[in-house]
Symmetry: C2
Subunit: 369 residues, 2 copies
């Protein structure tokens, strides 16, 4: 089913299809329930209190966030189980802010270096139940330590007065290309189990093995055991995007969010220009996709073969094998990676049956710190 | 002189050095005054009422903006001479908003297609002095028409009741690489002169020849004549960035804005990871630079040879030939392209002599429509 945009949009605009969003939420919740996995979805994708409430209504246990700023937004909105899945080194204002969040919600925090332990302990202080998860590197080679190194990090945490409740990883190498999902999911499961075992042998009591990415979410997690629970932290599944489709984690009918843009000019050779550029679509590229986004609705130009191949800040140049639409036509663009795109907008226009039925703020937009 | 960051920053943060900013403003203003060029700087770079006021204090005639949303912000703040240097096709809400801006300020608008003329005329309506400039393509091949085609666009505008006051172009091909500036500046001057002459021969009275980009701003414009005035619309010069330095349009001491980030982990092989990712630094790349940004301050890692080579949303991986700084160190990163970076932040931290002396809102942040 193609995208059908509402009329009279003031472009560029971020449009979410309510039916597709709800279907995506229900599908992942159902998978988690069947697999015996706790769902702690990553709110960095949507940054929306309304969507987080819908995730909770579908059975999510808590929320994952990337920053203290995001934690502030969701704690203030009443979410009392937050995991900052990021190796924070809170000093100065950030330490004060993290402590204030800890007064509103149970906050678990990631830790990937011994140096972070005393800073986290000071920020979360002794009166809070200061819980940390040790970050493991499952093959993405970004942050995180090996299962062997996890013991030293956990010891530094314990020495600082923090409670080590488990291990977590993000198998980001799944985004290397189509075909990477099965291997990345296996890496995730293996490294989490090894890390938890190492911690258990060293006298810790890991209770949570936390993995997560949308492409691996349905592949990675074995069911919970008596010893520990598995949780998953997928983010992009709520909306999906061009990368998720390319990796086989979604089909085009599951893309719930697009950028609406107006055709402002036609060029030679089947090119046309839209009023969504890098400030709307982001400039993220991957080796396995041409360009920055794909046009899926808009006159005759919607569908495979209409790709945003060049970006300025407020211009996107589309090359198409179809008939370029007339200036003034509004088109729908599926971005490569939806998460940073959302951060460019103040609100979602919520569409249902081709009508705008609501507007939701991007509550945690720009909460980078 | 290296960057010196203030202490106790809550990262990632956007930091502007007041002395360097003022020097950049003064230098471009002085060039324009000497060259007899009207300076109509592009506010899409800074999106800041405070910086726009400083530009005006240095002699800027008016402001250039990219969107109606930016025009709304600056018109409301009292700027009464605005040029929307973009080929708008205002329909629906945007037409209503453009008219409201026209009640607050003299608004000139770009036009690049005959189809736009009736829409602009309706939006700006007959009571306003509805002035347009025809966009010319100087070699960037994005939007804009040839000098020959400009006459047809101008006729459509006149037929719709719009006043055609001149021509404009953005020689964006200057960003193709080092060495492109002289050719792009010559293209700009040539196409503006040809376009104006064609319009004059067709019975129009072009009064403004408007060009602009930071790398060409000091090269392109011949002085004003009795027949028409030249104006320049540079944007990035207020801050400069890694691309401006690579193109020879600035030297490192003229980089006035950086992203401050905290080292959160060290990796093998001299890598370290900072808490500024694509949501802070943008993901824009150019062929003639490695990576996404360069670290210029922070422990021993500041200086040539420390490059952000990989980005996630909240992680930047830096490869360095220097000693990787300890976790917790705050570093200064010069982004590739500063304009989209500013749009990721709500405020500037204004630094002077290593102290934060003020905070300025990014007033037009996210005003994409």
């Amino acid at each position: 089913m193609p995208w059908e945009l509402p009329r009279d949009l003031d472009t560029p605009a971020l449009v979410v299809d309510l039916g597709r969003l709800e279907a995506n939420l229900a599908s992942m919740a159902s998978h988690a329930a069947t697999a015996g996995v706790a769902l702690q979805p990553h709110a960095k994708t949507h940054k929306s209190v309304e969507i987080a409430r819908r995730q909770r209504a579908h059975g999510a246990h808590g929320l994952t966030v990337a920053t203290v700023g995001e934690a502030e937004v969701f704690a203030t909105a009443g979410f009392d189980d937050l995991f900052v899945a990021y190796p924070l080194l809170p000093t100065g204002p950030k330490a004060t802010r993290l402590r204030a969040v800890g007064d509103l919600a149970r906050v678990r925090v990631g830790v990937a270096a011994p140096e972070a332990a005393p800073l986290l302990a000071r920020a979360l202080d002794a009166t809070t139940r200061a819980q940390v998860l040790v970050e493991l590197d499952a093959g993405h080679h970004r942050t995180g330590v090996s299962p062997e190194e996890a013991v030293a990090v956990a010891r530094a945490c314990a020495d600082a007065g923090l409670e080590v409740v488990g291990v977590f990883t993000h198998p980001g190498h799944v985004y290397g290309g189509p075909g990477a999902a099965a291997g990345a999911a296996a890496d995730e499961a293996r490294v989490l189990a090894e890390g938890a075992q190492r911690l258990a042998h060293a006298g810790f009591e890991p209770r949570v093995l936390s993995g997560g990415s949308t492409p691996t979410a349905r592949l990675a997690a074995p069911p919970a055991t008596d010893r520990w629970a598995h949780e998953q932290r997928p983010g992009s599944y709520v909306f999906n995007d061009r990368i998720q489709c390319a990796l086989g984690a979604a089909v085009p009918d599951q893309v719930a969010t697009v950028v609406a843009a107006t055709v402002v000019a036609r060029g030679p050779g089947g090119r046309f220009v839209i009023d969504a550029g890098s400030k709307a679509l982001g400039a993220e590229r991957v080796d396995y996709l041409v360009g920055f986004g794909e046009v899926v609705d808009g006159g005759g130009a919607g569908g495979p073969g209409s790709v945003v191949t060049r970006l300025s800040e407020h211009h996107g140049t589309v090359e198409t094998i179809r008939e370029p639409p007339a200036p003034g036509t509004v088109v729908a663009v599926v971005p490569n990676h939806v998460c940073p795109v959302v951060d460019h907008f103040d609100e979602y226009l919520v569409a249902d049956g081709g009508e705008i039925v609501d507007r939701w703020p991007v509550d945690a937009r720009g909460r980078l710190a």
